[in-house]
């Protein structure tokens, strides 16, 4: 059985998904404000790291990095509802790209595994 990352199509799949995903996030009124004023080129590189992790790809994500990266946002009110919105956009992106429901669920589970770190709990 090949890995989730391989089944999804590896780096090409991340590349295909990342801009779609970022557009959805920026267009989502529930969470767009957290991205105000950020450098879009730096942000898309971070989105790519996140998707690679969620796709089960090679990464060195650490809980501490996630906590530090989101600390400022938690102070601005980032909570579970915003994480839910991001996950929704992630699943929406995958479905739009024709990813099967089984893999969508696996990605959701991986992405959800960093929720507590993101929210600093």
């Amino acid at each position: 059985m090949s890995s989730l990352y391989q089944r999804l199509g590896g780096e090409n799949a991340v590349n295909a998904a990342v801009e779609l995903f970022y557009r959805k996030v920026l267009a989502d009124g529930r969470i767009a404000r957290f991205f105000d004023g950020v450098d879009m080129d730096q942000q898309i590189a971070k989105q790519k790291s996140f998707l690679t992790m969620a796709f089960g790809g090679p990464n060195n994500y650490s809980g501490l990095d996630m906590r530090n990266a989101h600390k400022r946002l938690v102070e601005k009110g980032l909570n579970d509802s915003h994480v839910d919105a991001v996950l929704e956009n992630l699943s929406g992106t995958l479905r739009q790209l024709g990813v099967a429901e089984k893999e969508v669920k696996e990605v959701e589970t991986l992405a959800n595994s960093v929720r507590d770190d993101v929210l600093g709990r």
């Binding site: 920026l26 879009m40 080129d41 971070k46 790519k48 790291s49 060195n60």
Partner: protein, 308 residues
């Protein structure tokens, strides 16, 4: 410095105690990006970088196993200063001058920027409007600010023949790496025209085949400098259009460009040069309209912080 077998450039740097930023260590976040000034980085260490970055030797040390020696520098390193001599300072518009200087052995791509050093503690970045194969000088367009120190030197102090220094070039606003057949859209305001003029002439020279549109915004009609030169290029090249917009006559260059470009944004290459607000707005709106971030090259022009 040698990398051990299996060791990445980042590992080797950290082992040697070099303080260099990094984060993901997996070639994704681009936090650790460096540039090779000699030697070619392996292709796999440039994954995810833009074409403009790749041709300039940028690479990700955390996934780089070098096959041959490289000389590497931090990504914003401008290199050694070079002496330059002023050839000409001429008005282009009410508050804009054209500065032409000469420097030996300075290679650049049209649209990149230089650091101009006019004395201790007085340096500014200016984009290049000149073309290395068409011009035997370096040309910059400088907005004169009433209380600006560099502005004052250019207005009242510096004369042809005077010496100063330059460092660079830097920046990714150049034509190389654009697909010749795709639509090419250049949008700028004020002296943001300088790099676009360089990019435009390079695109024409390199035989760009897709439609080219240059939008130039200014506060008033008198700020639409180089209009005659651009109109002449429109006449000479059937696939090039020049769209000037004067704000005092109701022309908002961003609104104008967005209205026309949104429907074809996904297929186009964009160059955006101007103030922070203009560039941010255009970048975001064009991205949301379907443009790939990798197809958008931008330089933000920021006025120097007021001196105390």
């Amino acid at each position: 410095m040698e990398t051990a077998p299996g060791e990445t450039v980042l590992d080797a740097l950290l082992r040697a105690g070099v303080e260099t930023p990094y984060s993901c260590r997996a070639g994704q976040c681009q936090t650790c990006m460096l540039r090779a000034t000699e030697g070619k980085p392996p292709e796999e260490s440039q994954i995810g970088l833009t074409e403009a970055q790749k041709v300039q030797g940028f690479f990700l040390p955390c996934i780089c196993h070098p096959a041959a020696p490289m000389a590497i520098v931090p990504p914003d390193d401008a290199g050694a200063r070079k002496e330059a001599a002023i050839r000409e300072i001429e008005p282009l518009a009410e508050d804009i001058v054209r500065l032409r200087i000469e420097a030996d052995n300075l290679t650049y791509r049209p649209g990149q920027f230089l650091e101009l050093i006019a004395g201790p503690d007085l340096s500014r970045h200016y984009s290049l409007a000149s073309h290395p194969e068409e011009d035997d000088f370096l040309e910059m367009h400088v907005r004169l600010h009433p209380n600006g120190r560099m502005s004052g030197r250019l207005r009242d102090g510096l004369r042809p023949g005077d010496k100063l220094h330059v460092a660079g070039p830097r920046g990714t606003c150049f034509y190389e790496g654009v697909d010749r057949d795709q639509p090419l859209t250049l949008i700028g305001a004020g002296t943001g025209l300088a790099p676009l003029y360089g990019v435009l002439r390079d695109a024409l020279r390199q035989g760009h085949r897709g439609p080219i549109r240059l939008y130039h915004g200014a506060r008033s009609g008198s700020g639409l400098y180089l209009a005659d030169e651009l109109q002449a290029l429109v006449k000479a090249h059937g696939h090039f259009d020049y769209i000037p917009a004067a704000l005092n006559a109701g022309g908002d260059v961003a609104a104008l460009a967005l209205e026309a470009e949104t429907s074809r944004a996904a297929a186009s290459a964009f160059f955006l040069c101007g103030g922070d607000n203009l560039v941010k707005r255009l970048k975001r709106d064009l991205f949301m309209a379907g443009a790939s971030l990798k197809a958008i090259r931008a330089d933000v022009f920021t006025p120097a912080a007021p001196s105390v």
